[in-house]
Symmetry: C2
Subunit: 215 residues, 2 copies
């Protein structure tokens, strides 16, 4: 279910978008989630990497990770992903804004226990971050899998919000002598920094040149 009671937007409905395709496209464009849960009435928000498969988001970490342990108890969690696309500079302070795409997803999580399912989820997260990487590196050993906790968060409700385009000023402000428009923002990759112990004959792999991040 998408766009249920928890995510109905009460303001600026034109920025609310409820279709699943939009929700999924934003989740697939991002890689960093902010995961919220409640411990003794205290809200806690932790950044985590993720990958999506259908209505499931995979999260992973150390078996001792308290966030994952808490999520796995099935508490009502919230996973939010935000992509910032630009500063929107208007002619008045009031109409300044951001261009962005965000998803707020509500659901519950469970721990994945099967080694095969764990590997599948870790593979999905790895390929979502850096496609092509998984097949080149040493895969997880049995001991490493046991040290790794993997959680599957099932999206029960979700909503997307998107703002794009130029500033919208009050009609009386358009004559002002002030620059207005959009400053695009995006996440860029820099030149790969080789590890100091890298074997000299190993070149930067092709898949790192094709890397697209958060777009």
């Amino acid at each position: 279910m998408t766009g249920g009671e928890r995510t109905r937007l009460h303001r600026l409905p034109e920025r609310g978008s409820y279709d699943l395709e939009t929700v999924h496209s934003i989740l697939d464009a991002g890689f960093l989630a902010h995961v919220g849960f409640t411990v003794d009435a205290q809200a806690v928000v932790i950044p985590m990497l993720y990958a999506r498969s259908g209505q499931a988001l995979y999260l992973h970490g150390s078996a001792a990770n308290r966030t994952l342990q808490t999520l796995a108890t099935g508490s009502a969690a919230c996973v939010t992903v935000t992509l910032i696309d630009g500063f929107v500079l208007a002619r008045s302070a009031f109409h300044h804004s951001m261009n962005y795409r965000s998803v707020v997803a509500f659901g519950t999580a469970r721990s994945i226990l099967s080694a095969a399912q764990k590997v599948k989820a870790l593979h999905a997260i790895s390929e979502h971050m850096v496609a092509g990487r998984w097949n080149e590196v040493r895969g997880p050993s049995r001991a490493e899998l046991e040290m790794t906790m993997v959680v599957e968060f099932t999206i029960e409700e979700a909503s997307a919000k998107i703002r794009k385009g130029p500033p919208l000023d009050d009609e009386g402000d358009y004559a002002r002598h002030v620059w207005a428009g959009v400053i695009p923002l995006r996440t860029e990759t820099g030149e790969p920094v080789p590890d100091s112990r890298l074997r000299v004959e190993v070149a930067v792999p092709q898949y790192l040149n094709r890397l697209k991040v958060g777009q």
Copy 2:
């Protein structure tokens, strides 16, 4: 208070940093917060802009904004800011990581009612986003101020986590023929896109050329 009961790290203590200066420097480097609170036992995480002043974080939005209204009731909230600095590519899947700086701050918020205090907070947020902008644009009218809700979140406890540097592989994996190192990531600004109704004689202001984002 910083590094209290709620934020004591139970894992990877070497990544935990509790000094206020580090917490503040990360908050000052970022501009996007993920704000968590609880409604009827449901955790909710909403992206918001912010600026810091001492131990206060200013948040703003429409007077009808439900997140701000809920925060202003004084519920135990969490504000998390995450800056992603790089993908850390190790020789094993297990040792892949991210370089990042994050702050998890716990506290409570109150609504700012005085018009002068609201303007001060809005000025701080504006200058934190795009320094130099505020003095050039039309400031908020009385009606606009009434339509704007401003909330001051007071940090009661906070912790920082930082990971930087190269991958750390198992000794036996260093001989592997696989590229390892760091792919730096950062938020970059693109060429300013002028509004279609911009007066032709208005040039891109100097302060936009100096813009530094999320660093």
